[in-house]
C-alpha cells in the first residue's frame, strides 16, 4: 500500500478522517436521578457502520446512556442527534433506532413469529411483505422451526435470537444492544459474539453494544468507550486501549498490568528513566512527549510483555530484575507466574510453555530463582 493511500483510506477508521460526518453525536449529555449523576457530561461521536462498545462495571451508567439514545430517558442536559436530526423532542416510537433489552423483554403472550413481526405491523407494512421479512429474519437467526412457540418455551440462547430478530426486522439505522450476551453461558457467548459481528458486517447497521465483559468488548468492538461513574475514561480501538491505556484505571481495568510507581529521573530523546519508589531500581520507558524531571509517574507493563528466564540475561538487556517464583498457575498453552522482585513487589508474568511438561516437571516451579526483563518499548508511562 502506498503512503498516500494509507493516509487517505479511512473506510475502516472513519473516526480518524477529519472530513467524516459523525452519524450519532452526543454533546454534553448528562442524566441525574435526584442528586445522583448517573451520566455526567458525555461528548461522543459515532460513525456509520461502527460496532461501538460501551464498557464498564455494574452501575456506571451504561444502560442509562443507551436508554437516552432510545428515548426512554430524557437527558437533564446536553443534546443528541442521530443522522443529523436532533432527537430531543422525538418520542421513542419515532426514533430510527431499535433496542435489544437486557432482559430481552419479549412479549410473553405472542409467538416467536408475532414477536418478530410486531414492529412491522405497527408500521402498517402489508401482510405479504411482513410474512416474507419475518421468514427471512427467522432464517437468519435459525429459528424457522420455533416460529409457533411462545417465549417461555425457548432456551436462553433462542430467546436472545428472537430479541435480536425483533430488533433488527425494522432495519433500524442504529441498533442498541444492552448486555446482549449476558444471559448466555460462556461457550454460547463466544460463538454468538462472532455471529453478531458477521451480522453487523453483513447488514452494515451501526451497533452500540453495552457490556461489562472486557474480553467481549475487545472481540466485538471497532471502538470501545470505557465508562466509570458516569464518565468516559478513554475512547479508542481495542488495541489503543490495551496497548496505550490513558490512565492507571484503564490499565488495570482492561486486562492485567504490572504497575511500578516512581518519579522521572531524566528524559533522553524518547527514553525516560524512572526511579521506583520501592528502592534503587531504575526503569527505562519509551515516551514521546516531554516530561519534567521529578514528575510522579507509573510505569505499566502487561504480563505477556515481560520475559522470564532462569539464565542470566545477555549484557545490555534493559530493565532486568531478579526475583523468585511465588506462585505458578499452569494454563496449558502458557503459565502465569507471580514473581517477587527486589523491593518486595510481586509481578504477574506470562510464560509460553514451549516445552512439554513431563512427570510434573514444569519449566518454572515454586521458589525458582529467575530474572525478568522487558524492553523500554513494551512499557507505558502513565501520569494520571
Amino acid at each position: 500500500m502506498s503512503a498516500e493511500n494509507q493516509l487517505t483510506d479511512f473506510t475502516d477508521r472513519p473516526w480518524l478522517d477529519p472530513d467524516a460526518r459523525p452519524f450519532i453525536t452526543l454533546q454534553g449529555i448528562s442524566k441525574s436521578f435526584g442528586s445522583f449523576k448517573a451520566v455526567d457530561n458525555i461528548d461522543l461521536d459515532i460513525y456509520r457502520g461502527e460496532l461501538f462498545v460501551l464498557l464498564g462495571g455494574s452501575g456506571c451508567g451504561k444502560t442509562t446512556l443507551l436508554r437516552m439514545l432510545a428515548g426512554f430517558e430524557t437527558p437533564t442536559a446536553g443534546t443528541l442527534s442521530i443522522d443529523g436530526a436532533d432527537m430531543s423532542s422525538t418520542a421513542p416510537y419515532e426514533r430510527p433506532v431499535n433496542m435489544m433489552f437486557q432482559s430481552y423483554a419479549l412479549f410473553p403472550h405472542m409467538t416467536v413469529e408475532k414477536n418478530v413481526a410486531y414492529g412491522l405491523k405497527r408500521d402498517g407494512v402489508k401482510k405479504a411483505e411482513i410474512k416474507q421479512r419475518v421468514d427471512e429474519m427467522l432464517q437468519m437467526v435459525e429459528l424457522q422451526d420455533f416460529r409457533k412457540r411462545k417465549p417461555d418455551q425457548l432456551s436462553g440462547g433462542q430467546r436472545q435470537r428472537v430479541a435480536l430478530a425483533r430488533a433488527l426486522i425494522k432495519r433500524p439505522k442504529v441498533l442498541l444492544l444492552d448486555e446482549p450476551l449476558g444471559a448466555l453461558d460462556k461457550r454460547l457467548r463466544e460463538q454468538t459474539q462472532f455471529e453478531l459481528m458477521n451480522l453487523q458486517d453483513k447488514l452494515g447497521t451501526t451497533f452500540i453494544v453495552v457490556t461489562h465483559d472486557q474480553e467481549e468488548a475487545m472481540t466485538l468492538a471497532t471502538r470501545i468507550a470505557v465508562m466509570d461513574q458516569g464518565v468516559f475514561r478513554q475512547v479508542g480501538t481495542p488495541a489503543e486501549i490495551y496497548e496505550t491505556p490513558a490512565t492507571r484505571f484503564i490499565a488495570g481495568f482492561i486486562g492485567s498490568a504490572n504497575m511500578f510507581d516512581g518519579s522521572v529521573e531524566q528524559q533522553r530523546g524518547n527514553l525516560v528513566s524512572v526511579r521506583l519508589n520501592t528502592g534503587d531500581l531504575v526503569i527505562s520507558v519509551e515516551h514521546d512527549e516531554p516530561i519534567a524531571n521529578g514528575t510522579a509517574v507509573t510505569v505499566a507493563v502487561r504480563p505477556e510483555k515481560i520475559r522470564v528466564s532462569k539464565q542470566q540475561p545477555e549484557p545490555g538487556t534493559d530493565n532486568v530484575m531478579r526475583g523468585s517464583v511465588k506462585e505458578m498457575a499452569y494454563l496449558g498453552r502458557n503459565s502465569t507466574l507471580r514473581v517477587a522482585i527486589e523491593g518486595g513487589q510481586v509481578l504477574e508474568v506470562n510464560s509460553q510453555n514451549r516445552y512439554r511438561a513431563r512427570d510434573g516437571q514444569h519449566e518454572f516451579d515454586w521458589d525458582d530463582q529467575v530474572t525478568v526483563s522487558f524492553p523500554p518499548a513494551s512499557a507505558v508511562l502513565l501520569t494520571a
Binding site: 426512554f72 421513542p92 416510537y93 433496542m99 433489552f101 410486531y118 408500521d123 425483533r166 430488533a167
Partner: protein
C-alpha cells in the same frame, strides 16, 4: 459387610404407627391436598345444591315442610317417583320471570362494565405509584369493608332520598328548584351496585397488574407502537385474566343481588333476587323459589362455559 436394608426396616418398626402415617402422607400428599377442596365443595356446595334441586322438582303444599316428597312409599315394593318440571315450565311461561331474569342480566352487565371502566384506571394508577402511597391507596379501596354492607346501603338511601343530602346540595347550589327522583330508581340500583362491587373489580386487577413488566411497554414503544397501540397490544392482553376475574366477581353476585334492588330500587326495579325472596318469604312457595335459584345458576353458568370454550379453542389454535 452389613447390608443397609435391615437398618432401614428397623427404623420403620421403631416409629411404628407414626412411621406408617408419615409414609402414607409422603406417598399420597398430592391426593390429600386435592381432596380437601373437593370435600369442602361436596359438603358446602353440592349437598345444599342437590337439596335445592330436589325441592324445585316437588310440588308446593300447605304443610311443614311446604313441599311434596319425591319418593312415595305406597303399597308396592318400589316407591313411586313424583318428579314434576311444572315449576320450571311456570318460570318459562310467566313472562314476569323471563323479564326479571333479563333485567337482572342487563343491570349486572352494565354495572360490571361501569366497574371495569372505573376500576381499571384506578388499579393502573395504584400500580404506577411507588412505596407507601401504593399501600395507602390499596387500603382506601378496601376501607369500606370495615363498615357493615347494610349500613353503607342505608347511607346511600340517606344520600339519594328526596330530602337527602344530594338533593339538598343541588337545591342549595340552585341547579334544580324541586327535588329530583334519585332513590327507588334504576339509577340508584346502579349507583349501589357499582359502589359496592368496585373493590371486587379493583383487587383482582391490582393483583394481575402487579406482575406487569413495564419493560414490555418500552419494547413496544421502541418498535414503533404509539401509547394507544401499546395499550391494546401489550397491556390489555397481559391484564385480560384480571379483567375476566374481576368481571366475574362483580357480575355473578350482582345478578342475584337482593339487598341493593330491595332498598335502593324499591318496587320499581325488577331483579331476580327480590323475586326469589318474595316467592320464598311472602308466597311460601319453596319449590318455585328453588326453581328460580336453580335457573339462575344455569343462566350464569352458560355464559361462563361459552367463555371457557372460546378460551380453550384460542389456546389450542
Amino acid at each position: 459387610m452389613e447390608s443397609p436394608v435391615p437398618v432401614a426396616s428397623v427404623t420403620t418398626d421403631a416409629t411404628g404407627f407414626r412411621g406408617w402415617v408419615s409414609a402414607f402422607l409422603q406417598r399420597h400428599w398430592r391426593s390429600i391436598i386435592v381432596f380437601i377442596p373437593f370435600a369442602w365443595l361436596a359438603v358446602f356446595f353440592l349437598t345444599p345444591f342437590f337439596i335445592v334441586v330436589k325441592i324445585s322438582l316437588a310440588e308446593s303444599l300447605i304443610a311443614s315442610p311446604p313441599f311434596s316428597k319425591l319418593l312415595e312409599w305406597g303399597d308396592s315394593i318400589l316407591p313411586s317417583l313424583n318428579i314434576s318440571a311444572d315449576n320450571y315450565a311456570y318460570l318459562w311461561e310467566d313472562s314476569l320471570y323471563v323479564k326479571t331474569y333479563l333485567n337482572s342480566l342487563k343491570i349486572a352487565s352494565v354495572s360490571t362494565l361501569l366497574c371495569l371502566l372505573i376500576g381499571y384506571p384506578m388499579a393502573y394508577g395504584i400500580i404506577r405509584t411507588q412505596g407507601t402511597a401504593r399501600y395507602v391507596l390499596l387500603l382506601l379501596v378496601m376501607l369500606p369493608f370495615w363498615t357493615s354492607f347494610l349500613l353503607r346501603v342505608y347511607a346511600w338511601m340517606g344520600l339519594l332520598a328526596d330530602q337527602g343530602t344530594i338533593n339538598d346540595l343541588l337545591l342549595w347550589i340552585g341547579l334544580i328548584d324541586k327535588p329530583i327522583r334519585l332513590l327507588y330508581s334504576e339509577l340508584a340500583v346502579y349507583i349501589g351496585i357499582v359502589y359496592t362491587y368496585l373493590p371486587f373489580m379493583i383487587l383482582p386487577l391490582y393483583a394481575n397488574m402487579e406482575k406487569l413488566d413495564f419493560s414490555l411497554n418500552e419494547a413496544a414503544a421502541d418498535l414503533g407502537a404509539r401509547p394507544a397501540s401499546v395499550f391494546t397490544t401489550v397491556t390489555l392482553p397481559m391484564t385480560w385474566p384480571g379483567i375476566v376475574a374481576g368481571s366475574l366477581l362483580v357480575f355473578i353476585p350482582a345478578t342475584g343481588e337482593f339487598v341493593i334492588p330491595d332498598l335502593l330500587g324499591g318496587g320499581n326495579v325488577l331483579m331476580i333476587g327480590r323475586v326469589l325472596s318474595s316467592e320464598f318469604n311472602a308466597n311460601h312457595d319453596w319449590p318455585v323459589a328453588s326453581a328460580v335459584a336453580v335457573a339462575l345458576l344455569f343462566v350464569l353458568l352458560i355464559p361462563m362455559m361459552l367463555y371457557h370454550r372460546v378460551q380453550s379453542r384460542e389456546a389450542n389454535s
